[in-house]
Amino acid sequence: MSDKKIIPAPLANEGLPPDERGLFCDAAPREYEPARGIMEDFANWARSESLWILGFGTGCGAIELRPLMTSRFDMYRYGIQPRPTPRQSSVFVIGGYASVKTLKRIVRSYEQMMGPKFVVALGSCTINGGMYWDSYNTIKRIDQYIPVDVYITGCMPRPEALLAGFQELKKIIRAGRAEGQNEYARNFEWFKANQKKVIKDWNMPDYNW
C-alpha cells in the first residue's frame, strides 16, 4: 500500500448539507486492541461459530446465498445465519461485481457494522473486475475500498465453494488474523481516498457511525 499516494481525508462530512453535518460522527474510527491470551481465543471461537451474514446482496453473486440457507446446503449447521441489519451482523458478503453506486452502499453498510467484522468477497469480479474489468462503472478490486478477509473465486462460485470459504474464514478468525476492522482504522485515510476517487457524488457522511 505504501506505493499508493496517500491523500489526507479530513472528516468534515463535506458531502452533506450543513444542517445535517452535526447528525453524523466526525471522529475517525480507532483501532481496538484485542484481549490477551485465552480470553481472546475464547472470544474468537465464539465469533467464528456465530457468523451472522449481512443480508445485503450486492451484485449477482448474492443469488448463491439463497441455496445456502435452504435444506440442500443448510449453512445454519455451521452457525452461519443471515441477519437483515448491519448493526447485528458480523460478516459482509460482497456478492460479485460492485458498481460505483453499490460501492457507496457497501461502504456505508460496512462502516455501520460493529467490530470485529469480516468481509467475504465472492466471484472473480471482486478480485480483478472479472468480466467487467473494463467497465466504466464497476470497481475492480474490492480490497482497495474495504478490507477483505477471504476471497472466493469463480464465476459464479458454487454454494460448496462458499461453505469452504466460510470454513476458511473460521480458521482465520480463530487464528486471530481477521482484524479487518483495525486495518480499516489504521489505513482509514487511504481507504477513504480510494473511495472518494471513484465515488464522484459523495453525498454521505465521511464516517457512518
Binding site: 472470544a43 449447521r77 437483515p84 447485528q88 458480523s90 460493529m114
Partner: protein, 304 residues
Amino acid sequence: MEPTLLGRIGYAFLSLFVITNYGLLLIGSMARISAKVQGRVGQPVYQPYIDIIKSSVKRNAISHGIMFYLGPVFRLAGGVGTYMFIPAVFGSVVFRNFSDSGDLLLVMYFIFFGQLGMALGAGEGGHPYSAIGVSRGLAQMTAFEVPFALSVIAVAIQYGTLDINAIVGAQQGGFLNWTLFTNPLAVVAAIIAFLGMSMHNPFSVVIAPQEIPIGPPTEYQANLLGMLQTNRAIFNGAKLVLYMNLFFGGATNILVMVVKTFLIYFINVFVGQAFPRFRTDQSIRFFLGVPTLIGIASVIIAAV
C-alpha cells in the same frame, strides 16, 4: 422450614439461572426441530449460547441516547419480573420465586411492561424499521391481549382467586382436574393468544426476520443485543411456566415442568411450521374474532 428473605433471594437467583439455561436450550432445540421439518440439519442446540457470547464480546458499540440503553433494561426487567412472580414448581421452596396472593394481575402487567419499554428504546434508535416493528408489535399485542385476558378472567372466576399458587393447588389430584379439562374454552382462547405472544408463524410479522429488518431491535447491537437474547429465553420460560400453571395443572417437580413446558412450546412450532404468516391487519382481525368469542364464552360458562 420457611427460608429467610436472603434465602429466598438466593433461591430466586438459582431459579432464574435454571430458567435462563432452560429457555436457551428450548430455543435451540426448537430451532433444530423446525430445521428437521424443513429437511435441514439445523443449528446446534447450544447455538443461542454462542450467539449471546459473540454479541457480548463485540469490540465497539454505538448509542442513541439514554432511552436506547433503557429499552433492553426494561425488556429484561419485564422478563425477569414476569418469572419472579410465578411459582415455577408447585410446593417447591427453591422454585417458588416471589409468588404471592394476587400475583396473576401483576404477572399480566409484567408481560406487557417489557414490550412497552422496548418500544420506547427502539423509538430512540431512530430507525424507521424499528418504528414499523414497534407499531406492528403493539397493534398485535393489543389484539391478542383480549382473548388472553378473557381466559385469565375465566380462570380467576372458576377458581375464585388471583393467586397462581392457589390455582395450581386447585388443579392437583389427577389430570382431569386441570383447567384444560375443567374449562377447555378458556384454554383454547389462551393457547391461540399464546401463538401471538410468542411471535412464531403465523404471527411473526412483528419480527419479520427478512423483510422488515428484525423488527424493533433493528438498531440494537453488541451487549444490548445479548441482553435482548437472554431476555428472550427468560421471557419464553416465564410465559410457558405461567401457562403450565394456569391451564395444565402446574408441576410438582422440575422434570414435569420441563416436559410440560416443552410440549406447550411445541404447539408454537407445530402451528408455525404448518401455517404461513398473517399480515398485521389479518392477525388483529383474527384475534378479535373467533378467539375473543371463545374467551367470552369461557367467561360466561365460568360465571354461570
